[in-house]
Each structure stands twice: as C-alpha cells, then as structure tokens.
C-alpha cells in the first residue's frame, strides 16, 4: 500500500550539493591569482563593452540589476582601464564677455592650459596694477598732462584777462567770486558809490551800462566756451592716458600673446583685456580702499579673489585636467540639479545679491566632459529637476547652466546666461531593474537616450570551473579587504552557502556585496579564534551568527507552535486537514513554517470557497491557485454531471494576507481527503502548486519550507518519519541544512518529490490514487474512486433536491 512512498523519497545526497574541498589544489586562497574579470556577468560586460565602444548619440548605458551585484565596481574598473588609454579631456574656463558681461564666454583649452592661463592673467593684472600707476606717476606723463591742463587754464585766463582788461578800460570792474563773476562800474579803478553813480549824467550812465552789457556778453560767451574747452582737454588727456596705458599694457601683454600664440582664442582674449584695461585705466589709478565706504564709515566686503573691478579680467577655470592622464571617469554620488549641470553662485553685498562669471561653478557633466559619467539612477530620479536636466543636456549635447532660482522665479536679481559648453560624454546609469522597466515604459525619451542595457545576473552556473573562479574571487576580496586567507574547506563552505543563498544547488550567488559580507564575518570569527586562515568552521559560525541575529521572529513563532497556541499536528491522521508550508521574508532573512489547511464539504453548486479570498486576505495568485482546484475537480471527477459540492478552504489561524500558489496542492489534498473521507498523515507537510491537470509545479523557498517543518518536528521532541512533499522540479534547488540532511540520512525525516497530485495523495493517505481502467472506472477503494463516488452522490442529491423543490413549487 505504501510502496509508492518509498520510490519518491529523496536520498540524502539529493538534498545538498556539497563542494568537496578535495577538488581544489590550493591550500589557501592566498595562493590564487586576483580575479580581474567579473565572474558570471559575461552578458552584462559584453553590453558594457559595446555601449562604451559605440560613439553615437543616445548610446548611453543603463546597468540594471539588484544592488550589490558589482555593477558600479565592474563598470568603474572597466571605464578606468579604458579611459587611461584615451586622451585627456580639454580644460574649460569661463571668461568675461567684455561686450556683454551677463553672457560670459566659454573657453576650451588643452589639458592643463586653463590653470596656466589663469595664473598668467592673474600675474599680468597684478603687474599692471603697479605698472600703470607707475607710468602715470612718471615725470614725463605729469609734465605732458600739466601742459595740456595748463593750456586750458591759460586759454581761460587769457580770455578772462582780456575781458577784464577791456572792461577796465571802459570803467567796468570784473571780479571773480566762488559763485561767479561780479561786474560793477568804476572810476579811476575804484567802484563808484551809489551816490556818485546817481550824480553821473545820463549819457555817462548809458555809456557805462553799454560797457557793462558788452562785458557781460563777452563774459557769457567765454563762459559758454569753457565746457567745450574742458571737453577738448579731457579728450587730450584721455588720448594721453590711452597712449601711456597702451605702452604700459602692451609691453606686458605681448609676452603672454607669444606664450599662448598657439591658441587664437586666448590671443583674442588677451587683446580684449588690453583694450579694456586701456579703456578703464582710471580703475588702475584708484587707491585700493573704497573711499565711499570709508566716508560712510561702513565696511564693504571685497568680493572673493580681490577688488571687484579686477574680477572682470580673471579666468574662471571650470575644469582643470592638468593632473589627469586619461579621459575623466566621474561618479557623482549626490546628483542634484546643481551638482549635475553646475550652478551660478551669488554673493551678498549690502543686502543685495550679485554675481559674475567667476561665480559659475562646474557640475559633474563639466568634469566628465570628454569622458564618462556614472550616476545612480535612483539618486538621480529623486532629485528635483535633475533627471530632466540630464535628458536635456544629452539631447542638445551641450551644457547650459541655468540658475534654478531664476528658472523657478525664486530669485529676482541679475543673473548670467553663460555660453553653453559642447558636451561629449558617455553617461552610465546604475540602478534596479524595476526603475529601468518603469523608465522604459513611462518616459518616451529614455529609450532614445539610453539605448544600451547591461543586465547583471544575481546568480551564476555552478560547476568545477566556476568553483575555481569563485575561489579566486574569494581570494581577491580577501586581499582587497585585508582579510585572512581562506583555506580550501572554507572556500568550499562559502560556495555551498552561496549556492544556498542563490536558492539553487546548480547556481552560486553573483552578489558581490553579500559574499564580501560573509567573508568579512568569517574573517572576524577566525581572528577571534586566533587562526592564521579562515576555516570552514569560521564560515559556518558566520552563517549561524547571521541567522541568529535575524531569527528572533522565527523563534517566537516556533514557540507558539510548541505551546499549542498555533495548532499544527505533526503526528496522527486527520480527514480534510493538511500541513501546508509558507515562507516569511524579513529583509535578507527568510524562514519557513507550517500552516494548517482544512477543507469542509457540503452540497452545493460546484464552488470552491477560499475563505481567505472571501475576507480579502488573499492575494491574486493565491486566489488563482484556488480557482484552479475547481477546474481540476470538475474535469477529473465530474465530466458528465454537475459538480455539486460546496467546498470551503481555509488557512487556519492565519491573521494576515496570504499570497502565492505554493499551497494550492496542499489545499487540493485537503479537498480530496475531505471528499474521500481518507485521513491525511499529519507527520507530513506539503508544498507545491498544482495545475488543472493535477501536475505539481515548482515553488520558491523550498529549503526554508522544509527546514521550517523540520525545526517544528525536532523541537517537539522526536523525529520519527516526518517529512515534506515537494515538487520534483524543486529537487535542483535543494541545499538543505546539514542537520536536516543528517536526519534524512538517519531515516528520521523524509523529503518526497512528487510530480502529480496522485503521487502526493498516495504518500499522504497511504492509499493508491488509482487510475481509470479501460471502462473508465477508478479501482475500487482507491482515493480517486472514493472522491468520484462522493461527488456523484452529491450530484444526485442535488438533482433530487432540485426535483423536490420543483414538485413543491408545482403543488
């Protein structure tokens, strides 16, 4: 009766794929070469090589995969290696636009020349600030200026003296005062008193009056001429100043022109400096202290880098590649809008905000221009305006710095519109797969700008070759992190654990961060034990410690089972009751536990009621699994008559949401038991989903589920033939704990692999499931025959009940 059970019971070796240390020829990982390639990521690395190599617009990269798979490390190492072979990027500077200061010019220079030019110009201006005043203090300049000024004075004085002389001859006195010229009649060079003036005859009155009017007119004519003469003198002095300044400046600037003769833009810039210095030579002659500020007793802070006026000649080196030997590779870990495209800063002076081209600050795009820029996709997307800015820059292939304050109308002050800088950069976004798929579907521009996706694996194939590669990876990480070397046993145990974490005996984890953490913890325990190398024992201790730190909830749950608060039988038989298995995932730790699933049957219309779903505690996948059961039951047992049961299924003592279809086979077993009246052995637990044909399908978390039931059974005191039914397709995923394997080896615990419901029900009830014979009947006494019979009975009862109701209605 139970022969079927024995044939499906898995041997211990199927439960755990060991990594035999004997297959390694090294003693410790220290003997192994460093691993420069990233194992298991061939597909992704090929995509990276392609994406980096292709120099077309829009062929930027998105590296997708879970965090910790080494996306950034691998692409960074790859790009560093490649960038070292490429020419260094150009320097970029912003310089004053002397015609329109609010639109500064961008200046491209060969690597290292930006700082050189900045220092040269700084020294030039420093020199001019002493050379120009010296030139203007020279004796020759003063003499020439004095000649010009004296010419004006002489001209004026001559004109006034002439008027004075003529006036005097006509008995008119002309006297200068602070407010003007006074005219008065005289006689014998003495001013006539009012009384004497009154006594003068009328003709004399008229003569004097005429003389005074004539003098007045002449005086006014000269006074009207004075501004014109002053203007002429100013122009002459200006010309003289220009000549002196040109001499002082030209000599100094000529050397710089020769030095930078290979760069026409720089020569043009120097020409503009020369013109501007000459035009503003007065600024070079002004004392450094602000006389206005001193007068007002106020402190006016100088703008950074010197007195405000001379800032116009500075060179703002935005990007300096003088120390770089290859193309830049930039990782911006805080990709805000400003950190990405640069910003224009302001300084506060006397309560007002002001700025100039010297306050333009570069962003990561400037620093990476001519090379590569790596960004974290999530960090980029959560920064306001950063994603849009990046797309805009990539689409236009130029960096245009726009102040956010201006853009959002938050700042109302004079701002700059710096000349855009041409952009040639390869952007590499690193992020989760979900973000990639969301961007692909929701952002139409994303596909245009990030044409190359490099998908990083979390797992890699496990075989002898990969074992050795993995050993080298362990050795590499150990060296990089200054860990103790790992002996071969430790390496084997790490690989086994990696396989367990991968959830597949045929795979190992390619999650570099998780691996590195395990190695560091194992190193800790090895050092605690004062060992020269990490052993398998240290690795196991690290694993145990990791689990112990995380399994508080598992322990509490287990206590509830043991105390009988949560009812799960691990012995005996029950009709319509089966132990299902589920997994709880808590961050990086997952554990399994059994749940009692029960089924009750009554006459009905063929519906299988999932109580979880009725109270909306069921996820869609779980509901789907339950609905499949109706399909299975109807097709197998009631093809020719109505399915006339009403079955209710429930996860007993489940107070939260249930999701997944891994319990659908267990629910079916409970139904079959309830229909057939055959009890199910409670020493067994079940996992696996089922399809409409009764085939058992693979589920996730198989190891945790088996161990969860094992732990409950063991903690109840005796292990006496308990076991778990799993789908056959999950055998390859088995990487069970050593104590479970040992219990199986001792025959105290069993793991059954089943492919169909029939195989499973046989194990659970100990009764053959039975197949239809040639006449289409199930063997008598088989599970299926009992189920079918029960369903037919229900159908007949329903039919009879229908007739009775009809008759009573007719009556």
């Amino acid at each position: 009766m139970v022969t079927a059970v024995d044939t499906k019971c898995l041997p211990p070796e199927a439960l755990f794929r060991r990594c035999d240390p004997a297959e390694f020829k090294f003693n410790t990982s220290a003997e192994l070469e460093d691993l420069t390639e990233f194992v298991g990521q061939e597909r992704a690395l090929e995509a990276v090589r392609f994406g980096v190599g292709i120099r077309r617009q829009g062929f930027n990269l998105y590296l997708l995969g879970p965090a910790g798979t080494g996306k950034y490390a691998s692409v960074s190492a790859f790009l560093q290696k490649r960038a070292a072979q490429e020419p260094p990027a150009d320097d970029w500077c912003y310089i004053n636009n002397f015609d329109s200061p609010e639109t500064p010019h961008a200046l491209k220079l060969p690597p290292g020349r930006g700082v050189l030019l900045r220092d040269d110009v700084h020294r030039l201006i420093d020199h001019l600030r002493s050379a120009i005043p010296s030139a203007f203090e020279s004796e020759s300049y003063r003499a020439r200026k004095q000649v010009v000024e004296q010419e004006l004075k002489d001209r004026q004085e001559k004109a006034f003296e002439e008027i004075q002389r003529e006036a005097g001859e006509k008995d008119v006195a002309l006297l200068r005062t602070p407010t003007g010229w006074i005219l008065a009649p005289t006689r014998n060079r003495e001013v006539i008193s009012p009384e004497a003036f009154e006594q003068l005859p009328e003709p004399e009155h008229q003569r004097i009056e005429a003389a005074m009017s004539e003098t007045q007119q002449k005086l006014q004519a000269v006074l009207h001429q004075v501004p014109k003469w002053q203007q002429e003198v100013r122009e002459k002095i200006r010309a003289l100043n220009d000549e002196v300044a040109a001499f002082a400046v030209g000599h100094s600037i000529e050397d710089l022109r020769k030095k930078h003769a290979d760069l026409p833009e720089v020569v043009g810039f120097l020409d503009r400096i020369q013109q501007d210095v000459i035009a503003n030579v007065d600024e070079f002659l002004t004392p450094p202290d602000n006389p206005l500020a001193a007068l007002m007793g106020m402190f006016l802070p100088h703008a950074p880098k010197g007195p405000a006026f001379f800032r116009r000649y500075q060179v703002n080196v935005l990007v300096d590649h003088s120390a770089n030997h290859g193309a830049p590779v930039v990782y911006e870990d805080h990709p805000t809008y400003q950190n990405l495209v640069g910003e224009i800063e302001y300084i506060a002076q006397m309560g007002a905000l002001s700025t100039d081209f010297n306050l333009i600050r570069p962003g990561a795009l400037h620093r990476a221009n001519g090379g590569y820029l790596i960004l974290d996709a999530y960090k980029l997307l959560v920064q306001p305006y950063a994603w849009d800015a990046l797309k805009r820059v990539l689409q236009s292939s130029q960096i245009r710095i726009e102040s956010l304050g201006q853009m959002l109308s938050l700042v109302s002050t004079v701002s700059l519109e710096p000349e855009a800088i041409p952009l040639n950069v390869k952007v590499v976004l690193v992020g989760e797969r979900l973000l990639y798929y969301l961007l692909s579907s929701l952002d139409t521009e994303f596909g245009e700008l990030f044409k190359v996706a490099a998908d990083f694996e979390e797992r890699m194939e496990r075989n002898a070759d990969s074992h050795l590669l993995y050993a080298r990876l362990i050795g590499t990480i150990a060296r990089q992190d200054a860990l103790l070397p790992f002996d071969r046993g430790a390496v084997g145990r790490v690989i086994e654990q990696s396989s367990r974490l991968a959830g597949d005996a045929q795979k190992v984890l390619a999650h570099r961060r998780t691996l590195a953490d395990l190695l560091r913890e194992a190193d800790y325990w090895a050092r605690e034990a004062a060992r020269p190398a990490v052993t398998a024992e240290d690795v196991q201790r690290a694993i145990d410690a990791q689990i112990h730190r995380a399994d508080r909830l598992r322990d509490r749950l287990l206590e509830e089972f043991l105390h009988g608060t949560i009812l799960v039988d691990t012995q005996g038989e029950r009709v319509g009751q089966v132990n299902g298995l589920s997994v709880i995932q808590l961050a990086d730790f997952a554990f399994g536990h059994p749940s009692r699933i029960t089924a009750r049957i009554r006459l009905g219309r063929g519906e299988v009621i999932d109580i979880e779903r009725e109270v909306e505690l069921s996820g869609p996948i779980h509901s789907k699994g339950v609905l499949i059961l109706s399909g299975f039951l109807g097709a197998r047992y009631a093809p020719d008559h109505p399915l006339s049961l009403s079955a209710s299924l429930v996860f007993e003592q489940s107070y939260g949401a249930v999701e997944g279809d891994s319990a659908s086979s267990a629910e079916l077993y409970a139904l079959l038991s309830a229909l057939s009246g055959l009890p199910i052995q409670q020493s067994l637990a079940v996992t696996g989903s089922v399809n409409q044909h009764g085939q058992i399908q693979a589920i996730g978390g198989v190891n945790e589920k088996i161990e969860g039931f094992f732990d409950l059974c063991r903690n109840r005191g005796t292990l006496d033939g308990q076991g778990v039914l799993i789908p056959s397709s999950n055998i390859r995923h088995l990487m069970l704990r050593r104590d479970v394997v040992e219990a199986v080896q001792a025959g105290k615990f069993h793991v059954y692999a089943v492919e169909t419901i029939d195989q499973g029900i046989e194990i659970l009830t100990g009764i053959p499931a039975g197949e239809r014979d040639a006449s289409g009947r199930f063997p008598e006494g088989s599970v299926n025959q009992r189920v079918e019979t029960r369903l037919i009975e229900l159908a007949q009862k329903r039919l009879a009940a229908g007739r009775r109701i009809l008759t009573e209605t007719q009556l």
Binding site: K153, P178, T179, G180, I182, L183, F197, M212
Partner: protein, 295 residues
C-alpha cells in the same frame, strides 16, 4: 653776529581761508603743523569790503557759474553769500580740527583782505595762506595777497598750494647767513624723525666748509640729510633742485633774497611746492635770539 637761535614756540597758527583749493591745502598743512606742535588753529575769513562796495553799485550784477546766467546783486545778496561762504569754511575747519583733535577758533572779519591778515598775523606764530585766492587768475601763479604778505614782516608764512606728489622731503635754502641757519633749524624741527628727510640746497663758495657747518648745526638730530649745490645766480637751478628732490616744502629765509625783489617774486611765482618763509620778525635777528620751534 651770534649763533642763530630758533627758540620760537608755536602756539597759534593762523590760517586764512576763502574756500579756494589752495586755501584748503593751506588748512591741511596748518592742521598737520598744529597737530605736531600742539598749537591752536585759528581760522580767519575776511569779508572783502571791495566786494561789498561792488554790490552796492546799482548797476552791479553777477554772472553765475556754470550757466553764465545773470543773477541780481546787491549788498544784501553779497552779505548773504559771504555769510554762507564763511559758514562753509567754518565747517570745513571744524571737521579738520576735530579729526586732528585740535584746539581751534574761527573768526570772520570784514575789511580789506591784506590789511586784516597783516593785523591778525601779529597775534599768531605762523600764518598759513593759499597761494592763489578766488580773485586771482591761475596765470598769476601767486595771488596778490600772498605776494604782499610774503614781502611783509610776518615771522613764519606758509604759502600753500594744492597737493603735490612727492617723497615727503623738506628742502631748505642755505647760504650760510644767520637767516639761512634759522631756516635750516626750522626745517629740521619740522621733519618727522625717521620718516622725513631734508635736503639742504647749499649756495656758498666753500662747499666743504659749509657742509661741516651744517653737520655741526644738525648734530644730535635723527634726520636723514642730503646736500645739493645750487647756483645763487640761477633761479632755475634752485627750482630744478627742488623738483628733482621731490620736496613737498621749501623753506626760505626771505631776507636772503630780498636784495633782489624781482628775483624773489619771480621765485615765489615759479616754485611748484608750498613755501615756508621766515620773515624779518623771525629769530635770525641778531638782537632777538631766544626763539625755538617747539615741535
């Protein structure tokens, strides 16, 4: 002839002010001197009666700066203008004195400018005046008031002019006379020890002997002294020397050059730095040898 003595205590400095640029320069120099000698600063503004007389004339008029427009003029208007000018000058003086923490006074006197200044000079130890006033044309190079005072018996007359660039040196004309010895000692008293050197413009036949004499006179004073020979018959020689030395003040004993009034006046007109003139009343009189510059 006894040794020259410069024991002339400077207690009061009179500065004649008319708000012209040169008079403001005179104020600045007077403030500097007063601060160093802890002297009182006395400002004087003269309401020129000549102007008032002109304003009395019924046909008098003013052509105002800068629009050359005609403005009415009478005594009341002129008096108001003079009062405003006086107030402005007083404020300037007060501000300067306050900055230098000086005792100061200010007086407005109506009269003929030169005679008022002569009278006031008698109560002061130094008179400071601008080289050119308002009524003087710049072609004159020195105004009539300054020129008249220069030839009067004012003990110490400072004729100032707008700021000149220089290296802070003081120049003094030395011909070996008692007057020039007094001028030398006055100059040495004015020089800031360690900060201001003096240049002696030597005009004697025996140059070496004169140098020894000067060194003897200046013995014990921590002053940097340079010597430069000038030709007594060549006015330009003196002017060139002053210029070359970059001096900011030339000290002269006026009697030295009064033998030739025309030459003296010509020198006053053409020298381009402020002048300090030791007049007849200063301590180089043989009978009066008890004065000393107390600085």
């Amino acid at each position: 002839m006894s040794d020259p003595d410069t024991s002339h205590a400077i207690r009061r400095i009179l500065v004649a002010l008319d708000a012209s640029p040169d008079s403001v320069a005179a104020l600045e120099m007077a403030v500097d001197l007063a601060a160093r000698m802890e002297a009182e600063l006395a400002g004087l503004f003269v309401e020129d009666v000549a102007l008032l007389r002109m304003a009395d004339s019924p046909s008098a008029r003013e052509i105002a700066y800068p629009a050359a427009s005609q403005a009415p003029l009478n005594r009341a208007i002129m008096e108001r203008k003079l009062r405003a000018q006086s107030e402005q000058i007083r404020n300037t003086l007060a501000a300067a004195a306050h900055r230098a923490q000086l005792r100061w006074s200010f007086q407005t006197v109506r009269g003929e400018v030169t005679s008022v200044l002569r009278t006031a000079a008698g109560q002061s130890d130094i008179v400071a005046i601008g080289r050119l006033g308002w009524s003087s044309g710049s072609r004159l190079r020195i105004g009539s008031t300054a020129l008249e005072l220069a030839t009067s018996r004012i003990p110490l007359l400072l004729i100032s002019r707008r700021a000149v660039l220089g290296n802070l040196r003081l120049a003094v004309y030395y011909d070996g006379s008692p007057a020039s010895k007094s001028a030398l000692l006055v100059t040495a008293s004015l020089a800031r020890p360690g900060a201001q050197g003096i240049t002696v413009l030597v005009c004697t036949a025996d140059y070496e002997k004169t140098l020894a004499e000067i060194r003897s006179l200046l013995q014990g004073r921590a002053i940097e002294v340079r010597y430069r020979r000038v030709d007594p018959d060549q006015k330009t020689s003196l002017l060139r020397a002053v210029k070359d030395e970059g001096a900011v003040l030339l000290v002269l004993a006026d009697r030295q050059l009064l033998k030739d009034v025309e030459s003296f006046e010509a020198l006053l007109r053409e020298v381009e730095v402020p002048l300090l003139l030791l007049g007849n009343g200063f301590g180089h009189e043989e009978a009066d040898s008890s004065r000393q510059i107390v600085g």
